[in-house]
């Protein structure tokens, strides 16, 4: 960690100017101790969070959910229903907070925007040829501009893994910079697709690359490849945002996405956030869950805590 902080003291904003400088910096980041990271993540997952602390964690997790639907079969009716659920996740309990954001494809943004207007729930849209990112840059930027114009105030972009894995870091950097510019005022979340990056070292490099290029959030996955968010990967990313703030003073958010289905999983993440980067990140502005089925489990657990009896999936909407 100290090595990271030291090397980062040089002017980071200059790094994007040359391929060599970028490569030297990214490859100069300390390697991730794989066994150590996995052990640490597993250990943090054993904390017991009960009663009032659990109630607080559940409400926080609900406020952090990016309620997501990214299906070819999405229809205006379906995304409207999802947006309505985002506003009032548990219609039977008005004390239940609303979720952080709704996340949809650009074509669905206008329908969601109608429902969410003025509610405080953010509207995120995936862009840049999600999920593969295999399209010409002009197409990706047009995709982004269209989503913003339609009303999205958060853009989830995918990095160019093809370029990243070939070592063309500058190309990845420039694409993020260009996308950030196309976003205008909208927040930019950069999806690293860690399931395709193969090593934790790559995850750390991609995290730094995304932050250097101006990403407001770094996000683990698209949810479209078999390996999505895992605790160790999120740990590496949390360490990266912590070190980045120490080096530059800028705070970047983290969003694990995909595969987080239960309240227990969500609470493990919250524990890890608190233990790794501290309470500054325990806020929907700095930490989000990309999930769909997680919300229902959170609601079921919430109902259990308020009523004392176990609830069931019959009492909550399917999507």
């Amino acid at each position: 960690m100290t090595a990271t902080a030291t090397s980062a003291r040089s002017d980071l904003s200059e790094l994007g100017r040359s391929e060599t400088a970028l490569r030297t910096f990214l490859h100069g980041l300390p390697g991730v101790d794989q066994v150590g990271a996995e052990q640490r993540a597993a250990q943090l997952g054993t904390r017991s969070i009960k009663t009032t602390a659990k109630a607080q964690a559940i409400d926080l997790a609900i406020r952090m959910v990016d309620l997501t639907t990214l299906e070819g079969a999405d229809t205006p009716g379906k995304v409207r229903a999802l947006a309505a659920k985002a506003l009032r996740p548990d219609p039977a309990d008005l004390s239940c907070p609303h979720v952080g954001a709704v996340c949809v494809y650009p074509a669905m943004v206008p329908y969601v925007a109608e429902v969410l207007r003025g509610s405080g729930v953010h509207l995120a849209s995936v862009a840049t040829a999600f999920p593969s990112g295999q399209a010409p840059l002009e197409v990706k930027l047009a995709d982004t501009r269209a989503a913003v114009a339609a009303g999205a105030d958060e853009i989830d972009m995918v990095i160019n893994r093809s370029a990243f894995l070939s070592g063309r870091y500058k190309e990845v950097y420039d694409e993020i910079v260009a996308t950030k510019e196309a976003c205008g005022d909208a927040h930019l979340k950069v999806i690293l697709e860690t399931g395709e990056l193969a090593t934790y070292d790559n995850v750390r490099r991609a995290s730094w690359l995304a932050m250097l290029a101006g990403g407001d959030f770094i996000k683990t996955s698209t949810g479209k490849v078999p390996v999505a968010a895992t605790l160790p990967v999120s740990l590496v990313m949390l360490e990266a945002v912590r070190d980045f703030r120490a080096a530059t003073g800028r705070q970047v958010g983290v969003k694990p996405a995909g595969g987080i289905k239960t309240t227990k999983d969500a609470i493990k993440y919250l524990v890890m956030v608190n233990e790794t980067v501290g309470a500054d990140w325990l806020d929907p502005d700095w930490f989000r869950f990309g999930a769909s089925s997680l919300l229902n489990d959170l609601l079921m657990q919430r109902t259990k805590l308020t009523t004392g009896v176990y609830s069931g999936p019959d009492y909550f909407t399917l999507d």
Binding site: G308, V309, Y310, S311, G312, P313, D314, Y315
Partner: protein, 274 residues
């Protein structure tokens, strides 16, 4: 040569096709064996397993369910001596085997007897068919240890329900041994889940659980507890089978009430052409 040390069995719960210890880590002594003392979280896990099994089991053909129940009878026959060694009388084991076969036969007949075409005054086919109600919580009777248990499980599952059984606290060994029979009978995982321990601990959780569709109070001897469980069950309109009278004869013809109570009738109106 040193003398061989016998391998003693650890009795465990049966949840989702697996034999876990209680998450609470507790156990109690029965006939010199440690038996897990299930907690409300074990009950919750069992309901989750049972719910997950409903789709596949209710969707299986009646013929297939009947075959599997028959298979249970076959496996039980093979383990006859094991139950006798636990203190179950041999003729009770035989009666329990026969009971599986008896219920297995009902699997494809019950819908014919309790469903069918209804005469209606209009140009419609009107058809009623009984369907499983879903997850059934069962409090098993204390006596007879094996026959009583089989007589409450078989009628619930033959129609496509899945069950969470609270075994009798005094007679858990037959229940756990029956779980070993069920685990080797092609019964899909989660169709039968067995909890051992205190009824006063598991039954209220099951009765109040919003994702349980029916509760069978046969083994609840305490009238006050039975009434309390019924009140809890009313919260989501569970179907309730009342406690059996103390002098119930388990060897007699069981009748069909146990099966029909745990069914929902679906009626379809279909326009008739010409």
């Amino acid at each position: 040569m040193s003398e061989r040390v016998a391998v003693r069995k650890t009795y465990k719960l049966f949840i989702g096709g697996k034999f876990p210890r209680s998450e609470s880590g507790r156990s109690y002594l029965v006939q010199d064996s440690n038996v897990p003392l299930a907690s409300r979280k074990d009950a919750r896990d069992a309901v989750l397993a049972a719910r997950a099994a409903v789709k596949g089991w209710a969707g299986a053909t009646a013929y297939n369910r009947g075959q599997i129940l028959y298979r249970v009878a076959e496996m039980l026959e093979g383990r006859r001596e094991q139950f006798v060694a636990l203190g179950v009388p041999a003729d009770e084991v035989d009666a329990a085997i026969d009971r599986w076969v008896w219920y297995a036969g009902w699997s494809d007949k019950l819908p014919q007897v309790y469903g069918g075409a209804n005469p209606v005054a209009g140009p419609y086919f009107n058809l009623s068919s009984p369907e499983p109600t879903g997850v059934v919580a069962v409090v098993a009777p204390e006596q007879p240890a094996l026959l009583g248990l089989v007589s409450v499980i078989a009628p619930a599952i033959v129609t496509g329900n899945t069950v969470v059984v609270a075994a009798s606290p005094a007679q858990p060994l037959a229940a756990v041994t029956l779980a070993e029979v069920l685990a080797t009978s092609d019964l899909p995982v989660g169709v039968v889940n067995i909890l051992t321990g205190r009824i006063s601990e598991t039954a209220p959780t099951l009765a109040a659980h919003m994702d349980v569709n029916a509760i069978d109070l046969t083994g609840v001897a305490d009238a006050e507890l039975a009434a309390d469980l019924e009140v809890k069950a009313a919260q989501n309109l569970k179907r309730v089978l009342r406690p059996a009278p103390a002098d119930h004869d388990w060897t007699a013809d069981p009748g069909v009430t146990r099966m029909t109570t745990l069914l929902e009738t679906k009626t379809v109106w279909h326009p008739k052409g010409v």
